[in-house]
Amino acid sequence: MRKIKHNNLFGYALSKRQGIITIKIGKKINKLSVSYYWARKKYWPELERKALKKIKGKSILDIGAGTGRHAIYLKDYNLATIEKSPILYNILRKCKLNPFLIDITKEKPPKKYENILLLDNNIGLTNRTKDLLKKLKELLTVNGQLIIVANNVDKTKTVKIN
């Protein structure tokens, strides 16, 4: 396996649109097709498609928005996205997905939202889950909702994007 030194290789790899990325979730090593992160809605895991149907209200914050594959379908809402990778932030900005370039574990956006999305295992962005959930509670409006999807990713996923 070729190792590439890059201070944010995940963002770099995703921006290339093809290849295989290896990540570790818990104790499992997972190989994922980069194309998975660009997949259109019909190729998403079923739970992610259902998650978007659970949105109520008008404002949404998509945390760890990545390539914007979810957010791109939410443009009709008052949408904001968060990404800590400058490369991915630029992709989100070009797609007009109202991104904040911040690390949610260290900073937070200035306003509250009716929906906060933590899709595609982003609940595991930090090992300080409790602190993250406390912070997100402060970012939710009264009766706002946190929508979480965690996928089992112990198999290589290859997804067509065309």
């Binding site: 104790k27 895991p45 889950t129």
Partner: protein
């Protein structure tokens, strides 16, 4: 096909532990669906 490797460590938290944590923090579980492919949780403030 190019392989990218980075020691990205995502924390794995199982559904049961996450639900307990959410409830402890004052969230209300509004919807839960669990399959062999993963889980979906909607937790209200």
């Amino acid at each position: 096909m190019k392989n990218y490797y980075q020691n990205i460590k995502w924390t794995y938290i199982n559904k049961t532990d996450l639900i307990k944590l959410l409830i402890t923090l004052g969230y209300k579980i509004d919807y839960l669906e669990s399959t062999n492919k993963g889980y979906l949780i909607v937790a209200k403030n």
